[in-house]
C-alpha cells in the first residue's frame, strides 16, 4: 500500500517535471522573449525620457498650492483634544475638494497630457520613430510600451502627490503621526481614483499623440479638455440652469462624470463622511450634489450632507469612462499601426 502511494507520488512528480520541461518552461521563455522583453525596453527608455527629479519636485510644489491654502484656513477645532479618527476626518474635509479639483484634477491631467503628448508625435516628427519601427518590434508593442511608461509615471506622481498633501495637511493642522495613519483610508481612496483618471487621460493623451503631427497640438487639446471639464462646465451648468437638465447636457459633462466616480470611490471606501462643508463645493463644481439637504423620507430626519443629483449611477459613469479610455487605447494603437512613418 505504502509502495503504491510512493509510486503514485513519484509518477505525479515525474509527470509534473515533464510538463514543466516541455510546456511551462518553453512558454515562460517564449513569453519573456517575445511579449515582455522588447516592450519592457521601450517602457524603460520612455520612462527615463519623461522622468526627471527636478520635474517631479516642481510638480509637487504646484500640486500642493491649492490643498495648502485649504488646510491653512483657520479652524476652531483643538486637534490636541480629539481622537485621531476625528482629526483625520476634519483634515480630509479640508483636502477633499482641492485633491479632486487640483491635485488629481487640473494640474495632474495637464501634466500627464503634456508628458505623454510628445511621445509618438515628436518621435515621428523628429525621425527617431523611423529607426524604431524598422527594428524587429511591432508597433503595438511600441505603443503599449510608451503607454505603460506614462501610466507608471502617473502612478508615481499621484502616489507622491497624495502622500505629500496628506502629510502637509496633518503637519499644518496637528503634526501628529497618528492623525496621518488615520488619514490613510482617505488617501487610499484618492489613490484608487487617481488610477482611474490616469487611465482615462493616458488613453486620451496617447491617442492624440498617435493622431497629431505636432506634439504641441496634442498638448493644447488635452489642456483644453482638462480646463473644459473642470471649469467650463461649471459655468455652463450655472448659467443655463434648468436647460442643462432638460437637454441632458450631463451626458457630455466630463466634470460631472469625474465627480460622480470620485464620490463613488469615497463612498464605497467610506473614506469621508458626508458633510455640507465639502459637498457644497462638489455641488457647485461637478453637479454631483443638489443644494438640498439629504433627508430620510420615512423619519424626516436630516441625514447630514447633500442630496445627489443622480443623473447617472456612479458605476455607470465609471464603466462608461473606462470603456471610452479602453476604446481610445485601441484607437491609438490602430492609428500608429496605420501611420506612415517617414521624415
Amino acid at each position: 500500500m505504502k509502495n503504491n502511494i510512493v509510486n503514485t507520488e513519484g509518477k505525479i512528480k515525474s509527470s509534473f517535471k515533464k510538463l514543466n520541461l516541455k510546456v511551462i518552461q518553453p512558454v515562460k521563455i517564449w513569453l519573456s522573449k517575445n511579449i515582455f522583453k522588447r516592450t519592457a525596453i521601450i517602457i524603460k527608455k520612455t520612462f527615463q525620457d519623461i522622468y526627471s527629479l527636478k520635474k517631479i519636485i516642481i510638480t509637487l510644489i504646484v500640486i500642493l498650492i491649492l490643498p495648502l491654502i485649504y488646510v491653512l484656513l483657520p479652524t476652531t477645532v483643538d486637534f490636541g483634544l480629539i481622537s485621531p479618527n476625528h482629526a483625520a476626518t476634519i483634515i480630509s474635509f479640508a483636502l477633499i475638494f482641492p485633491a479632486f479639483f487640483w491635485t488629481l484634477g487640473l494640474v495632474y491631467t495637464i501634466i500627464i497630457g503634456t508628458s505623454g503628448a510628445p511621445l509618438i508625435a515628436e518621435e515621428v516628427k523628429s525621425g527617431t520613430m523611423l529607426l524604431l519601427v524598422s527594428k524587429p518590434i511591432s508597433r503595438i508593442k511600441i505603443f503599449i510600451g510608451k503607454y505603460i511608461a506614462v501610466y507608471l509615471y502617473g502612478m508615481l506622481l499621484s502616489f507622491f502627490s497624495i502622500f505629500v498633501i496628506g502629510w502637509v495637511g496633518v503637519f499644518v493642522k496637528s503634526g501628529n503621526i497618528d492623525h496621518f495613519i488615520s488619514l490613510i483610508p482617505f488617501l487610499t481612496a484618492l489613490y484608487i481614483y487617481s488610477l482611474f483618471i490616469l487611465f482615462l487621460f493616458t488613453s486620451i493623451t496617447m491617442a492624440f499623440s498617435s493622431i497629431f503631427k505636432k506634439a504641441r497640438s496634442a498638448s493644447i487639446l488635452i489642456i483644453f479638455i482638462a480646463i473644459f471639464s473642470y471649469i467650463a462646465f461649471l459655468l455652463i451648468r450655472s448659467l443655463t440652469g434648468q436647460f442643462y437638465v432638460t437637454f441632458q447636457l450631463y451626458h457630455f459633462d466630463l466634470g460631472y462624470h469625474l465627480g460622480n466616480v470620485f464620490i463613488f470611490f469615497i463612498e464605497t471606501l467610506d473614506a469621508v463622511p458626508p458633510s455640507l462643508s465639502w459637498q457644497t463645493a462638489f455641488a457647485m463644481l461637478t453637479g454631483v450634489y443638489t443644494y438640498e439637504n439629504l433627508v430620510d423620507p420615512d423619519q424626516n430626519i436630516n441625514l447630514g450632507g447633500l442630496e445627489k443629483t443622480n443623473y447617472y449611477f456612479p458605476v455607470f459613469s465609471l464603466i462608461i469612462w473606462i470603456l471610452i479610455a479602453a476604446l481610445l487605447l485601441v484607437f491609438g494603437i490602430l492609428r500608429l499601426n496605420k501611420r506612415e512613418i517617414s521624415v
Binding site: 522573449k33 522583453k37 522588447r38 525596453i41 521601450i42 527608455k45 523628429s126 525621425g127 527617431t128 523611423l130 529607426l131 524604431l132 519601427v133 524598422s134 527594428k135 524587429p136 518590434i137 511591432s138 496605420k338 506612415e340 512613418i341 517617414s342 521624415v343
Partner: protein, 321 residues
C-alpha cells in the same frame, strides 16, 4: 513572375511594388510596379533625387504601407517583425537620441533587436571598435561629427546580426574624409552581411557594388551587374581637354550634333556625348583652330557608371519629349 527556386536565393525581392500617395485626381505614384531582385553582396540602388529610392526603402523596412504589389526579405513579407529581424536599416539623414552616449544607443538598439543586455553591451563594444568609435563610446551622440553619427547609425543597424543591411544615402551630407571612411566600412562589412545601399553619388556605388538597380520617376530603368551594364553600353563618351575648356563647352552645347556637353566635376575636362560622333571628329580640329585652343587630349574612355546613367537619363528624357 520569378521562379520559386531562384527567388529563394534573393535577399530582397519585390513584385510590382507600388506606392501611391493621395487619392483620386490628386494621387501621386511615387513608386510604380518595381520588380527588385537583390542577390547576396552589395547592391546599389541609384537614382536622382526624388526618383523614389527612399519611398521604396521605406516600404521594404515597413515604415510606410505598400499600396500594391509585394515585397519580401529572404521570403519573409516586408514590414513584418520576422522580416525586420533579418534587416538592419539606416535611414537618410538619420536622427538619433542625442542625449544618449554611443554605447547606450547601441545597447538600446541591440535590446530592441532581441539581445540580452550583456550580449548587447559586448556587441556594442565590438562594433564601436570596428567603426573606430571606441574612444567616443561614452560621449553623447549630440557631440558626434557627421561621419561618427553615420557610423554609429550603421553600427546600430548591425547590432542584432541582420542578414541584409539597408542603407539610404549613407554618405550624403558627409565631407570627403567621412565619405571615404563610411564607404570603406561598408565594403569591409560585405563579408558578413548583404548590403542594399541607395545613393545618388554614382562614383561611390561603382567603388562598392557588384550589382545595381537604377530608378527614375518611380520606375526601374536598368538592373544588372555593373560589368554587364558597362558591356552593354558601347561608349559614346568623348573626353576633350584643352587650355580653354569653359569657352569650348559653351560652343559645343550649341551644336545640333551634340547631345550633351559638360565640364566634369572630378577631372575638369569636357565630357561630350555626341548624337553624331563622326561629325564631332570632323568639326573638332576646325573648332580648335578657330578658337586658337591648345589641345591636350581627346579620347574615348571606358564608360563610368555616372556616364551610363547620364546617357540613359538623356535618352529617356529625350524620348519623353
Amino acid at each position: 513572375m520569378i521562379k520559386k527556386e531562384s527567388k529563394t536565393n534573393l535577399e530582397i525581392w519585390s513584385d510590382k511594388l507600388t506606392k501611391i500617395y493621395g487619392k483620386g485626381n490628386e494621387a501621386i505614384e511615387a513608386v510604380s510596379k518595381i520588380d527588385l531582385r537583390v542577390k547576396p553582396g552589395i547592391h546599389g540602388f541609384l537614382g536622382p533625387n526624388g526618383a523614389g529610392k527612399t519611398t521604396t526603402i521605406n516600404m521594404l523596412v515597413g515604415a510606410i504601407s505598400i499600396t500594391e504589389g509585394d515585397a519580401k526579405i529572404r521570403e519573409k513579407k516586408a514590414g513584418t517583425v520576422a522580416a525586420k529581424q533579418l534587416i538592419g536599416f539606416l535611414p537618410q539623414d538619420p536622427v538619433f537620441y542625442e542625449d544618449m552616449t554611443g554605447e547606450e544607443y547601441l545597447i538600446y538598439m541591440g535590446q530592441l533587436g532581441g539581445l540580452q543586455k550583456k550580449e548587447a553591451r559586448l556587441k556594442a563594444q565590438q562594433l564601436l571598435d570596428f567603426f573606430n568609435l571606441f574612444e567616443a563610446r561614452n560621449r553623447e551622440i549630440g557631440t558626434y561629427s557627421g561621419g561618427e553619427k553615420q557610423k554609429v547609425g550603421i553600427a546600430g543597424s548591425l547590432i542584432h546580426d541582420p542578414k541584409v543591411l539597408i542603407l539610404d544615402e549613407p554618405t550624403a551630407n558627409l565631407d570627403p574624409i567621412g565619405r571615404a571612411d563610411v564607404v570603406q566600412k561598408i565594403k569591409e562589412l560585405s563579408d558578413r552581411v548583404s548590403v542594399f545601399v541607395s545613393s545618388h553619388i554614382l562614383s561611390e556605388i561603382e567603388q562598392m557594388c557588384e550589382d545595381v538597380t537604377m530608378i527614375d520617376n518611380g520606375k526601374i530603368v536598368i538592373s544588372d551587374s555593373i560589368s554587364n551594364i558597362k558591356k552593354s553600353f558601347i561608349s559614346n563618351l568623348y573626353i576633350l581637354d584643352t587650355n580653354m575648356n569653359e569657352k569650348l563647352v559653351d560652343k559645343l552645347k550649341d551644336k545640333d550634333f551634340i547631345s550633351k556637353a559638360r565640364i566634369d566635376d572630378l577631372d575638369g575636362k569636357i565630357h561630350i556625348i555626341p548624337k553624331d560622333a563622326e561629325k564631332l571628329r570632323d568639326i573638332l580640329p576646325q573648332m580648335l583652330l578657330e578658337n586658337k585652343a591648345k589641345l591636350y587630349s581627346f579620347h574615348q574612355p571606358e564608360l563610368s557608371l555616372q556616364d551610363i546613367f547620364m546617357e540613359i537619363m538623356t535618352k529617356k528624357r529625350g524620348n519623353k519629349k
